[in-house]
Symmetry: C2
Subunit: 613 residues, 2 copies
């Protein structure tokens, strides 16, 4: 070893010991004939003291930032102590040192607040990784992984590796494919998830499976998506939904405890997908704060169990009258917003990302009066009634959006989240878990991207998700064909609910899963509903249908997005900060410069060629 101790472990208890450290030069400070150097390694920083004698050697061999140094000396009590670091009470009075490697001046500062821009730090990722905030992120990631493995091990889960070179069965997202040299003209695909393999392991009786595993999706990268990402992938036999929910809220609570030292003792809330959409306009609501949606008006085919309160807004206001949907939220304590502030909010909802035409507000003044942007259309009594319906108290500001159902609901959700952030209601260290249940089994794709037709049912989760037992008959006894595209919501399939569940943390979906179909006939019915004929079913999933003939047990599972989970626990919005070597928005690794051209010999061996447009 080049060292006897690390830079993070020496304290006043070690005074008098002779030690050797090795690490990187963080700072060099000269004071006349002596020099102080902060030496850094993964474990900490220790101050080195070069006395007069060694200082002469230093002049002959000057140290620069990030030089790699080996230093031997005696642990000494410092005269001026640094209480901010664990080693701050001591320094090493050196007897010798050796420069193990030199360093160019780094292109940005290796400090918590760096002067390097994103692009520069990505190109020199090996230097960015030296910075303390990035290191803390990767340490947190490791801790989350370790906590996960321990919990699952204690609960009888087995880590079983599934293959990476599998078969291309494009359903939802695009596959990355890999040409096979040994089977010319044929391709492997990289897995989008180990879904079918983990189901086969259940058929094989492995009972409880998990894997922390890389998955791949060749999608156009929106912000904060990566072509390769990591899942905590789990599956269990002989379980019902309730068992899965209990097992995996237990996992997240354990991670909270191990990684953040948080005792999450509250009951994890549960909400149906319909309630989430109704109350929050969103299937992954952030329940750390209220501001629930007040559905003043909504189309009759949605939320069929809810009663209309549209009479509250009857009147002459065209925007409300023309709108399919009108939704209000009560923003606490903001009645005194200025004109400038409400104008800014109106501009905010008109941005292209939100796309609303305008914003109506009602100020619930402290004196009990109401003032709104629609005073000429509604009496103060009416305004009060609307504000009451929205749950507004004196001092609150009611904001109302109106327009087409889907857009308006999403916009209100976005506005709610934005205000939650501005008002400091979404605190980094406040964690609230939520299960969202009873998702729709199908979505109707009006524009079929394959150009094969005008519309078809697609699986909202994936084709292996089972319908609610009470909805199985509906699925079996009805043809998936939609006669009138305009009225697809009236088709029986639109109301079939899935045995599917998402785990939501602070407004982010961190995991999701379902109870699976385990009967061959139902699985075939499902494939058929998605427009797959028998030949296609056999070609793509023959192995799974085959496996279901030999004693498939009831089973279910879920997968957590590992990168996302880590970033939320780390209080960051970006998953990239929690990946050692991430790719940019074009799917490039700018450090190693990949992807790149390959040799003629490689094309030749693979028997493929380019066909550039």
């Amino acid at each position: 070893m080049f060292r006897t101790k690390t830079c993070g472990e020496l304290s006043i208890a070690n005074v008098g010991e002779t030690v050797t450290l090795a690490g990187w030069v963080q700072t060099v400070r000269k004071f006349g004939a002596i020099t102080f150097v902060d030496l850094r390694d993964r474990y900490g920083i220790t101050q080195l003291l070069f006395g007069e004698e060694l200082n002469k050697d230093l002049e002959a061999n000057p140290l620069g930032r990030e030089f790699v140094l080996q230093a031997t000396g005696t642990v000494t009590e410092r005269s001026s102590k640094n209480k901010n670091i664990p080693t701050g009470e001591i320094e090493i009075t050196l007897s010798s040192f050796m420069i193990l490697n030199k360093s160019e001046v780094p292109p940005f500062k290796i400090e918590d607040d760096t002067d390097g821009g994103d692009d520069l730090r990505m190109k020199y990722r090996f230097l960015d990784l030296r910075r303390n905030p990035v290191k803390k992120n990767l340490e947190l990631r490791y801790a989350v992984g370790r906590s996960t493995r321990n919990y699952l091990h204690e609960n009888n889960f087995m880590d079983i590796e599934t293959p990476f070179l599998i078969k291309s069965t494009p359903e939802g997202a695009r596959d990355f494919v890999v040409p096979s040299r040994m089977n010319p003209g044929q391709f492997y695909a990289l897995p989008q998830s180990p879904q079918t393999f983990k189901q086969l392991l259940m058929v094989s009786g492995y009972d409880r499976y998990y894997q922390i595993v890389k998955c791949f999706r060749d999608e156009d990268l929106r912000a904060d998506r990566q072509p390769e990402f990591t899942q905590i992938d789990c599956e269990m036999c002989f379980v019902e939904q309730e068992d899965i929910l209990n097992m995996f809220e237990g996992l997240v609570k354990r991670i909270f405890k191990d990684v953040k030292n948080i005792d999450y003792t509250e009951v994890v809330e549960r909400m149906t997908w319909e309630e989430a959409m109704w109350q929050f306009g969103n299937d992954k609501p952030d329940i750390r704060f209220g501001m629930k949606l007040c559905n003043l008006k909504f189309p009759s085919h949605t939320f069929t169990t809810k009663e209309s309160i549209a009479d509250l807004i009857t009147g002459e206001f065209g925007m409300f009258n023309d709108a399919e949907t009108v939704i209000a939220i009560a923003v606490p304590g903001c009645a005194e917003y200025t004109r400038k502030q409400t104008d800014e909010l109106a501009e905010w909802v008109k941005r292209p990302q939100i796309g609303m035409k305008g914003l109506v507000f009602i100020k619930c003044n402290a004196d009990g009066t109401y003032k709104s942007s629609v005073d000429k259309f509604y009496t103060e009594d009416k305004l009060k009634a609307i504000a009451d319906a929205a749950g507004a108290k004196a001092g609150d500001l009611v904001l109302i959006l109106a327009g087409a159902e889907e857009k308006t609901r999403k916009a209100t959700s976005d506005l709610r989240m934005e205000l939650g952030k501005r008002l400091g209601l979404r605190k980094d260290n406040d964690f609230k878990l939520l299960w969202v249940l009873d998702f729709p089994l199908f979505e109707f794709a009006l524009e079929d991207q394959d150009g094969g037709g005008a519309g078809r049912w697609v699986a909202r989760h994936h084709p292996f998700t089972s319908p609610k037992p009470s909805d199985i008959d509906t699925m079996i006894n009805n043809s998936p064909k939609v006669e009138d595209l305009e009225k697809y919501l009236e088709h029986p399939y639109a109301n079939i609910k899935a045995n599917a569940y998402d785990m939501v943390l602070n407004g982010n979906e961190i995991g999701g899963g379902s109870i699976r179909i385990f009967q061959k006939e139902l699985q075939q019915k499902m494939f058929a509903a998605l427009g797959m004929n028998e030949e296609e079913q056999q070609h793509k999933f023959g192995f799974l249908l085959g496996a279901f003939e030999y004693g498939a047990p009831p089973h279910g599972g879920l997968a957590f997005g590992f990168d996302r989970l880590c970033s939320i626990l780390g209080g960051s919005e970006s998953i990239r900060d929690f990946i050692a070597f991430p790719k940019n928005n074009s799917g490039r690794d700018v450090m190693i410069d990949a992807p790149s051209a390959i040799d003629a010999k490689q094309f030749d061996e693979l028997q493929i060629k380019l066909d550039l447009k």
Copy 2:
């Protein structure tokens, strides 16, 4: 849950309890009006008793092998106990049951000794995985992984994920490549190992890294190779070879303890590569038994430190006189082999896989006489001298091979291993570890497969392995150019030794690694020695050379072949048995039928087309 207990946990202590089990029907045995069923799950087998009442239901709903059953009843003491299984003292007297799923008759028996052939079991891998021996293998694999993670965690290693979509830099083996849709005409490569990334992590100061990670090599598959395989990949900072050897023999000892309950207290033996070749003819010797090679004759350019004993075989025997190399081994206790037996051994070494011209034997009879197949060429005194040199005692059989150096050495090694096996000297549960050290840094490739020249130096381990410090000057001060191809062994590069080490277990290389180059100039010299010009160096490894400019620390590491390690610990020669979903020798997954054709749309999006010959 479909069950309250598993099929492996009930004992006499549970008698009287009402339980529900779920699992697979292993056997059905009818005795008049009652029926016994063995129900199986991952945890064990429990006997179910269907009384007269339920037997009638059974007749209406007959059970078959591998049916999935849920059964409720009372734990009862058995009259005839089965001492072979943990649950053998009890049975469940059923009150109700439900068939959860039916099963076709499986194409082979789900038993320890199955009647299914390899191909059938691969196609129905999900059924083969139900068999106990296969399940035990995967359980062992999980235990090895878990033990590894625990040990490395306790020693401050961090699991850090490295990317799977990287850059193609074909050096040794062929890369699998992945066309990039977002960067048309460019390709990612799947990693052959995370080598350069783990080195970057050391440059980044992560100090101790590990990963249990999939790696990919597109090679023609010899027996027991897989296109995707798993490594335990490790790297450490500020270490010398000795530190690595200690750390990782500690890991293997820990695995022995955790997984096999073996206390491996012996000192792990060490041997130079040269000694391994000299004594065993092999760089991964099985040291569980002796039968060391007696080098009667060898070419002067090999083993330059060894003294010749060729005078022992001087005489008229042409085969020895013409041979470059003559090697003997003493086979213990086999002096009484019959003519038939020695003939069979002679045939064995003449097989094409071994390729020798013949086999000479000397029987060291119990009465002190010697009898050989070359009696007419050598006196009994001469025979005795040869036998003594080979370490033979009375009762032993000396076998001698002669021919070209490389072939003869390998053949003798193969013969030694074969006899070790036949004589029962290679016992499954006898584990002997060995470090092989000081490998040559280079090999000379006489036929350059790229057709670019008549010969060139290739890295024996990989281009990042450092030479022994004492050999660095030799490397820096000599041109790699070999003027006379016949005499490449006389080139100074042929004698440069590497700071590289292999861990050998029972004659199998289970891991290997090296101390790495961490100086930019030496790395460039290494690349140049391998025939890479500066442009190529920059294109392929510019990021690494760049990283070495910013304070790279001394570092080194190794990787274990996880599949192989598991198979040896499991007492099997085949890694396939220890992989949940392996591929066959053509790189095919016959269960899912991959690789396969892809859609025109996929070609179109990737901007590639087939170019079949």
